[in-house]
């Protein structure tokens, strides 16, 4: 497929708060879509998403099939400083997992 599937995460300090932007690499098949041959594509979507700041859990999201492909999330964390570690982890309905980590800039 050529393309590198990679979860992207950016965290930036902005007027005292941390802005976190996350882009996950996931097809998010609902189980109702068809491929070119007209066969149904099996459901494959992220169910559970978690975010940590310095090992403290700050956010958890449950996704349904109505979450867009390559899910994007953006939110702010109160306070924080440069060098804070932001870590994420996702699990999909087939048990596949992904993690990513970044430091606040």
């Amino acid at each position: 497929m050529g393309l590198v599937r990679k979860d992207r995460i950016r965290a930036k300090l902005k007027s005292g708060d941390t802005t976190v932007r996350i882009l996950l690499a996931h097809p998010m098949h609902t189980g109702r879509g068809q491929n070119d041959a007209g066969d149904l594509i099996a459901a494959e979507f992220i169910q559970d998403f978690r975010c940590w700041r310095n090992k403290e859990e700050v956010l958890s999201i449950e996704c349904g099939t109505a979450t867009a492909a390559n899910p994007y999330f953006s939110f702010q964390l109160i306070g924080g400083e440069r060098g804070d570690k932001i870590a994420i982890r996702w699990v999909d309905n087939l048990g596949a997992k992904g993690t990513a980590e970044t430091t606040v800039k």
């Binding site: 708060d17 609902t30 109702r32 879509g33 068809q34 169910q47 559970d48 700041r53 403290e56 859990e57 700050v58 956010l59 958890s60 999201i61 449950e62 996704c63 349904g64 099939t65 109505a66 979450t67 867009a68 492909a69 899910p71 994007y72 999330f73 953006s74 939110f75 702010q76 964390l77 109160i78 306070g79 699990v91 309905n93 048990g95």
Partner: protein
């Protein structure tokens, strides 16, 4: 002397392999259960907004409509491609326990269920799929009270394939 030593070896070996097997078994068996436990299956598989809310929050009524700012689509209330419609949730409410986003006309309405900790500050932005022109509802539960806002979104190309 020699025989006791050998006996000890076999005992040790047995103990080690047994503990490894136990480790493999627990890691392999417990993980899927733990993962499933995090996902509210009944809420996400509900086919109407009311059912999804009842399953997720245990209540679907008595929702206040103020205190919650909700934007769908860009420009608002319109989306060219239903496969990725931007949403933005803003609120000044305190003690938010859960935020849910539901699309009325989707086969399975519940799109997102967000549990923020006290460290999270809104706005929260994400993308969802919308199958056809539909009402999109955002619900916040704060201090046991429901706050609900609904927006109608026009979709050019349906995106729930």
């Amino acid at each position: 002397m020699n025989t006791t030593n050998q006996h000890r070896r076999t005992l040790l070996k047995g103990a080690i392999s047994a503990s490894t097997m136990a480790l493999v078994a627990t890691s392999g068996l417990l993980l899927p259960q733990r993962v499933l436990a995090h996902w509210s299956t009944s809420a996400f598989n509900a086919e109407t907004v009311e059912d999804a809310l009842l399953a997720l929050l245990g209540q679907a009524e008595e929702a206040s409509t103020t205190g919650l700012n909700f934007k769908v689509g860009s420009p608002p209330s319109y989306a060219v491609n239903g496969a990725s419609v931007p949403i933005e949730i803003q609120s000044d409410l305190k003690n938010i326990e859960r935020i849910a986003v539901l699309v009325d006309k989707n086969p399975l309405p519940l799109a997102l269920s967000i549990v923020p900790s006290a460290a999270v500050k809104l706005p929260f932005k994400s993308m969802i799929k919308i199958a056809e022109d539909s009402e999109v509802t955002a619900i916040i539960r704060a201090d046991g009270q429901l706050y609900k806002t609904t927006r109608f979104v026009e979709v050019d190309i349906g995106g729930c394939a």
